[in-house]
C-alpha cells in the first residue's frame, strides 16, 4: 500500500512545487512577515518588548492564515477528484481507500506545514528582539501544527462527504467557527445565569471550558503570556491530534459509501421547476428580461425569488433573535416587557452591514468562478457587449440578490434612526469614512479577480490580502503621516482608487477574455 500512497503524494507535491501559485503564496507570506517585522521594529524603536509584540502578532497572523488556507485547501482533497471525474479511475487502479486518503491529504498537509516552516526563521528573530523565549516559540509552532493536522483531517472528512468543494469548505468553516467560537459564546451566555449545580449546567459549562482551552486561539494566548512554563505538548496538542485521527477514521469509514456514485457533471439547477402549480410558478425564472445577464445569474446561479424568500426568513430570524438577546441581556430577564429598540437597532445595523459586505463578496466570487468553472465565458463574451459591460452586469446581479439584506438593514435603521444619520454623516464627511468605503470596494474587486485566477478559496485569499493591506500598508502609511490621520486616509484612498481602476479597466476584463479564449 505504501507505493501507491507515495506515488499519489509525490505527484501532488511535484505539481505543488512547480505551481507559481504556491510559490507566490509563500512569497506573499514572507513579505507579509517582513513588513510585520518592519512595522513592529519601527513602533518599538525607542524600547519595549518588541520581540514578544512581534511574535504575538506573527503567530496570530499565521494561525488566521493557515486556518483560512486550510478551510479552502483541505476541503478540496477528495472533491477535486470527484469534480474532475478522476476518483473512479483512482479506485479502479486498485489503490486502497487508506492509500487514496493518505496520498491526497499528506501532500496538502506538507504544503501547509511548509508555509509555517517559512516563518520559523523570522520567529527566531523575536528572541533577539527580546521578550520571548525559545520555549514559547517552539510551543507555538507545535500548537499550530496540531491545529493544522486537525483541520486537514476535518477538511478531508467533509471532502469525502460532499460532492462539491464549495459545500465541503462551507462545512469545514462551520466546524472551525463552531469549535473555536461557539464554546466562548456559550460560556458568556452561561455567565448571565447564576451559577447552578444542575448537571446540565455543569456539563455544558465544563464542555465549553474544555473546548475553549483546546482551541489553538486560546492556546496561543496561554503560551504567549508572561512566565509561560507549561509543557510544550499541551492538552490542545493532544486533543487536536485526537480529533484529526477521529476524522481520518470517519473519512475512511464513509469513503466507499460517499464515493460510490460519480458526481453529476455540470451545475445543479438551484431554481425550482414550477410548471404545474400556477401559484409557485411566480417563483420560477419566467421570461428573460432586457438585462439578460442579470436575469440569468439571479435565477440560475443564485436561485431566483425562491432563494431570496429563504434568505428573507433567515434575516428575519436574525432580527428577532438579536432583539430578544439585546432585551434579555439588558434586563437580565426574558419576561421584561421593555424591548430595547435602540440597542437592537445598533446591533442589527452592524450585523447586517458586515453580512452585506461578505454576502456581496461571496456572491461575486460565486458568480465569476462558476462562469470559469463551467467554461461559459466564451458564450458571454461572444455577445455584442464588451467584457467590462458583462462584468458590471454580473456585479449588478450580486447587488440584486442582496436586496433582502439591504431591506432588513434599512428596517433596522428605523429602530435608531438618529444614530444611523449620525454615523452616515461621519462616514460621508470624514476622509476615513471614504477610505473605508473604497477599502470595501477594493475587497469586492479583488475577490472577483481572485475568483477568476484561483481554483478555490478566492474569498478567503481576498480576505487575507485585505487584512494584510489593512494592518500593514495602512499601518506604515499611518506611521508616515503620524500626525495627520486625514492625510493618511486621503493617501490610502488614492491607492485604493488606483487599484480599483486597474482591476476594473484592465485586470478583470483581460482575465475574462483569457478564460473565454482558453475555453473556446
Amino acid at each position: 500500500m505504501i507505493v501507491p500512497v507515495l506515488a499519489l503524494c509525490t505527484r501532488a507535491l511535484r505539481l505543488e512545487s512547480r505551481s507559481w501559485k504556491t510559490l507566490s503564496l509563500r512569497l506573499t507570506f514572507i513579505i507579509f512577515v517582513s513588513l510585520s517585522l518592519v512595522s513592529i521594529v519601527t513602533s518599538f524603536v525607542f524600547g519595549g518588548a518588541a520581540g514578544l509584540s512581534f511574535f504575538l502578532r506573527l503567530s496570530y497572523n499565521v494561525l488566521i492564515f493557515v486556518t483560512l488556507y486550510g478551510i479552502s485547501a483541505f476541503s478540496t482533497t477528495i472533491t477535486e477528484e470527484k469534480e474532475a471525474q478522476t476518483l473512479g479511475l483512482l479506485k479502479m487502479s486498485g489503490i486502497h481507500p487508506v492509500g487514496i486518503l493518505l496520498g491526497k491529504s499528506t501532500s496538502l498537509l506538507i504544503s501547509a506545514l511548509l508555509l509555517i516552516a517559512a516563518v520559523f526563521p523570522f520567529a527566531m528573530l523575536a528572541v533577539t528582539l527580546g521578550g520571548v523565549s525559545y520555549r514559547q516559540i517552539n510551543a507555538t509552532f507545535i500548537a499550530l501544527m496540531a491545529h493544522i493536522i486537525m483541520l486537514s483531517n476535518v477538511g478531508l472528512f467533509f471532502s469525502v462527504l460532499c460532492n462539491r468543494a464549495r459545500s465541503a469548505s462551507s462545512l469545514t468553516l462551520l466546524f472551525v467557527l463552531g469549535y473555536n467560537f461557539v464554546p466562548i459564546i456559550f460560556t458568556a451566555i452561561l455567565q448571565l445565569f447564576s451559577p447552578s449545580s444542575h448537571w446540565l449546567y455543569t456539563a455544558i459549562n465544563d464542555t465549553c471550558t474544555f473546548l475553549t482551552n483546546t482551541s489553538a486561539f486560546t492556546q496561543l494566548s496561554i503560551i504567549l503570556s508572561t512566565g509561560f512554563n507549561e509543557s510544550m505538548i499541551s492538552t490542545q496538542v493532544w486533543f487536536n491530534f485526537l480529533i484529526g485521527i477521529v476524522f481520518f477514521g470517519l473519512s475512511l469509514i464513509s469513503f466507499e459509501r460517499f464515493t460510490k456514485n460519480p458526481v453529476p457533471v455540470g451545475p445543479k439547477r438551484v431554481l425550482g421547476n414550477f410548471k404545474k402549480n400556477s401559484n409557485m410558478k411566480k417563483m420560477g425564472a419566467g421570461r428573460a428580461t432586457k438585462n439578460a445577464i442579470v436575469w440569468r445569474d439571479y435565477n440560475f446561479i443564485f436561485g431566483g425569488h425562491f432563494q431570496s424568500l429563504i434568505r428573507c426568513l433567515i434575516y428575519l430570524i436574525i432580527m428577532v433573535a438579536t432583539i430578544l438577546i439585546t432585551t434579555y441581556t439588558q434586563n437580565w430577564k426574558i419576561s421584561s416587557s421593555t424591548i430595547e429598540w435602540e440597542d437592537s437597532g445598533n446591533f442589527l445595523m452592524i450585523i447586517y452591514l458586515v453580512l452585506f459586505i461578505f454576502i456581496i463578496a461571496s456572491r461575486l466570487s460565486t458568480s465569476f468562478s462558476r462562469e470559469k468553472k463551467w467554461h461559459t465565458f466564451s458564450n458571454l463574451l461572444m455577445l455584442p457587449h464588451d467584457s467590462r459591460h458583462i462584468m458590471v452586469k454580473k456585479i449588478a446581479c450580486c447587488f440584486k440578490t442582496s436586496l433582502p439584506i439591504i431591506c432588513f438593514f434599512a428596517l433596522s435603521t428605523l429602530f435608531n434612526f438618529d444614530n444611523f444619520t449620525k454615523a452616515l454623516d461621519e462616514i460621508l464627511t470624514e476622509p476615513l469614512g471614504w477610505a473605508s468605503i473604497l477599502f470595501t470596494l477594493l475587497f469586492w474587486y479583488l475577490t472577483i479577480y481572485l475568483a477568476l485566477r484561483l481554483k478555490f478559496g478566492a474569498l478567503i485569499v481576498s480576505l487575507f490580502f485585505m487584512y494584510f493591506v489593512n494592518f500593514l500598508v495602512m499601518g506604515i502609511i499611518g506611521l508616515i503621516f503620524s500626525f495627520d490621520s486625514d492625510a493618511a486616509a486621503l493617501f490610502c484612498s488614492v491607492i485604493y482608487i488606483t487599484l480599483i481602476s486597474l482591476l476594473h479597466i484592465k485586470l478583470i476584463p483581460n482575465r475574462m477574455k483569457a478564460i473565454a479564449l482558453a475555453n473556446s
Binding site: 439578460a292 466564451s378 461572444m382 475555453n519 473556446s520
Partner: protein, 319 residues
C-alpha cells in the same frame, strides 16, 4: 450587396502565441452564401483563425475583414451579425432549452414576442420541436449540439462560424447535422465550418481552404482541389476481365510506360498504374483484346479527397 461579395477577407494574417507561431501569413476569402470548409490536421491553426474571425482574439499582423469591417475596430458590430459555435460544449446545463435560447435572444436585444417566434423557428429548423422544456444537462451530445446551433441562430446572423461541429457525434447525428447545414445554406446564410476530415465536407461545401502548420495549402472549390492534385501523368485504372492467364499478366507488365499491375480485391479485377505520356488506356485495352479476353468493366480510380489532403499536409503529431 452582391452574391459574390466576400464576407470573410483574410489577407496575409500572422499570429504568434508566446512560444509558437500559429499563422504564417494566411490569405483566403469566403463569399456570401457559400458553405466554406476549413480543413486542417490537429494543431494546424484552424481554431486560431476561428477565434480571430469571431473577434475573441485581436489580430496581430495582417488584414482581417468580416462583412468588409476591420475586426480590430468593429468587433461589436461584427458580433451582432455573426454566430460562433466553439468546439467545446459550454452551455448553461441547469437551464431548459427554452430558457437557454430565451436568454441569448434577450441578450441580443430581441423583444419578448419576437423571441417567441424566433425560438420556435430555430427549434423547428434544428428538429428540436417538443424538447423546449427539457433540461440541457439531460440531453444527449447530439441534442446539445443542436441546441448550441439553435443558440447561434437566435439573432438571425448572416455568418455562422462552426468549429468542428460534428466532433463526437455518432454517424446518424453527423448526417442530420449536415442536413441542417445544407438547409441553412439554402436560407442564404454563409457558413464557415472547420473540420479535420476533408471527406466529411466534400459533399457539403462549395469551397474549401486547407491549412497546415499555419500556412494555407489550398483555397478554392472542391473540383479545383482534385484537379490541382491531378497534375501528374500517372493514371490508375481497375479492369474486370473474364479470364486472365500468366502470359497476359506478363505481357501487360512488360508494356512500356506500365508502372504497376496487380490483382484487385474482387475476383477477376486487375489494377493498372501507368504513365499516360507513354501509353494510353486504349493501348492496354487493345493488348487485352488481342489475347481474346473479354473486358467486363473498366473504371478510372480518381485520386480520393483524403489522398489529396494527405499530400497537401505534412505527417506527424502537432502541438
Amino acid at each position: 450587396m452582391t452574391e459574390h461579395e466576400s464576407i470573410i477577407d483574410v489577407n496575409n494574417l500572422r499570429y504568434s502565441y508566446k512560444n509558437s507561431k500559429a499563422l504564417l501569413g494566411s490569405t483566403f476569402i469566403v463569399r456570401r452564401g457559400e458553405l466554406h470548409g476549413f480543413v486542417g490536421p490537429n494543431g494546424a491553426g484552424k481554431t486560431t483563425i476561428l477565434k480571430l474571425l469571431s473577434t475573441l482574439l485581436p489580430p496581430q499582423i495582417g488584414d482581417l475583414r468580416v462583412f468588409g469591417l476591420d475586426v480590430k475596430t468593429n468587433a461589436k458590430a461584427i458580433r451582432r451579425r455573426m454566430g460562433f459555435m466553439p468546439d467545446h460544449f459550454s452551455m448553461y446545463q441547469q437551464m431548459t432549452v427554452f430558457e437557454y435560447l430565451d436568454f441569448f435572444a434577450a441578450a441580443y436585444g430581441l423583444g419578448a414576442s419576437e423571441r417567441d417566434s424566433t425560438i420556435k423557428d430555430v427549434l423547428t429548423l434544428t428538429d428540436m420541436d417538443g424538447r423546449q422544456n427539457d433540461l440541457i444537462q439531460g440531453l444527449s451530445r447530439g441534442m446539445q449540439q443542436r441546441v448550441s446551433l439553435a443558440r447561434v441562430l437566435v439573432h438571425d446572423p448572416e455568418l455562422l462560424l462552426l468549429d468542428e461541429p460534428a466532433s463526437g457525434l455518432d454517424p446518424r447525428a453527423r448526417i442530420e447535422l449536415m442536413d441542417i447545414l445544407k438547409e441553412l445554406k439554402n436560407m442564404g446564410k454563409t457558413v464557415f465550418i472547420s473540420s479535420h476530415i476533408l471527406a466529411e465536407l466534400a459533399d457539403l461545401c462549395d469551397s474549401v481552404t486547407i491549412i497546415d502548420q499555419g500556412q494555407i495549402k489550398y483555397t478554392g472549390d472542391i473540383d479545383g482541389l482534385l484537379q490541382t492534385q491531378s497534375t501528374t501523368t500517372e493514371k490508375n485504372y481497375a479492369l474486370k476481365l473474364s479470364e486472365a492467364n500468366d502470359s497476359l499478366f506478363e505481357r501487360l507488365q512488360n508494356m512500356e510506360g506500365m508502372l504497376q499491375v496487380s490483382r484487385g480485391d474482387k475476383e477477376g479485377e486487375y489494377k493498372f498504374t501507368f504513365d499516360s505520356n507513354q501509353i494510353s488506356i486504349n493501348q492496354i485495352v487493345g493488348t487485352i483484346s488481342q489475347q481474346n479476353t473479354a473486358i467486363l468493366s473498366i473504371r478510372e480510380d480518381v485520386k480520393h479527397l483524403n489522398q489529396a489532403f494527405m499530400e497537401l499536409t505534412t505527417a506527424g503529431v502537432r502541438q
